[in-house]
């Protein structure tokens, strides 16, 4: 079997291929436990106005920033300019230049705007950012983003938080086939089996949030996703057996205990 050398994004090495989002957890304790159980090394966060009427709104103090790479997103951005502004604020906050680029003008399906995303990506790469763009599963857009220098592409499996699984499978297969940067399948993975399916196809990593955060036992679900990602990756590297329409007996077809 080919050895897994781990996930490399913009020259940085990660053993874990499961990225985890921090939204929707019932408490910072539940979030911290799930991150640990997931074995995640990259953790996404959002940027919002400080709630000056609530002094306890800093839920992220539970995350050890030495241990995890904090990956800020530009959620809430409706166009390239808003995403660029959020990216710069995020860089000032983290001191690092990694950004998960999200431009989602449509609040109902939260689908990413391909034109504004490409525009923002190009500008942010020029400004020195390591850009991880969240996109619809569009192979042409993926190529264009790679051409302008994004560090990954992050095609969606299905709408954010929908838990519908890998609805965009055939397009993601093409993206993986053509990619020369890591492909991180993001959004909509609702079950560990969905994550395993993406990894079996050859995705480099997956990002999961809602399915873990809103499970009855988030830490247990995080562990299940971790195992599924490892299983899927191992299966991918093992070279899947061929599929056929008719049955192929696994047991010998000779030496039956009968005389006809």
């Amino acid at each position: 079997m080919t050895e897994d050398r781990g996930l490399v994004i913009a020259g940085k090495h990660f053993n874990s291929r499961l990225l985890i989002g921090t939204g929707k957890f019932s408490s910072s304790k539940a979030m911290a436990q799930a991150i640990d159980a997931a074995g995640a090394q990259i953790v996404t966060v959002a940027l919002r106005r400080v709630d000056i009427t609530n002094k306890d709104d800093d839920m992220l103090s539970a995350i050890d920033r030495e241990k995890f790479l904090l990956l800020p997103n530009t959620s809430g951005a409706r166009n390239a300019d808003e995403a660029i502004r959020l990216s710069r604020l995020a860089r000032a906050a983290t001191g690092i230049n990694w950004i998960k680029l999200e431009v989602t003008p449509d609040p109902y399906y939260l689908l990413p705007d391909p034109i504004e995303t490409l525009k923002a990506a190009e500008s942010l790469v020029k400004d020195g950012f390591v850009v991880l763009p969240y996109i619809n599963a569009d192979p042409i857009l993926s190529k264009k983003l790679q051409d302008v220098g994004t560090a990954t592409v992050m095609p969606l499996a299905s709408p954010i938080g929908s838990n519908q699984g890998l609805k965009t499978r055939s397009a993601i297969e093409i993206i993986i086939e053509q990619a020369n940067v890591p492909v991180v399948v993001d959004a909509g993975l609702g079950l560990p089996s969905h994550a395993a399916e993406a990894m079996e196809m050859g995705a480099d990593a997956v990002l999961v949030n809602t399915a873990i955060a809103t499970a009855v036992e988030p830490a247990k679900m995080a562990e299940a996703f971790k195992l599924a990602v490892i299983a899927g990756r191992t299966a991918y590297l093992s070279g899947a057996a061929a599929e056929s329409k008719k049955a192929n007996a696994s047991s010998p077809l000779t030496g039956f205990l009968r005389n006809d």
Partner: protein, 70 residues
Amino acid sequence: MDVLKINGKEHKFADGKMPATIAELLSSLGVDSATVVAELEGQIIERAKFSTIALHAGHSIELVRFVPGG
């Protein structure tokens, strides 16, 4: 009376009571400056300059921080 626009809302201060810097403003609001990023009149202000850059009446300031997200 002096006015600062903080996160899109006007805040009024009695004469002489307006915070002179971002650091003073955060401290008066009880917000830990270690986790906050500020944008003053559209310009990002590095945390190291929170206590040196002067606030003036009429300034618009954004105070943001990381929150849970996916």
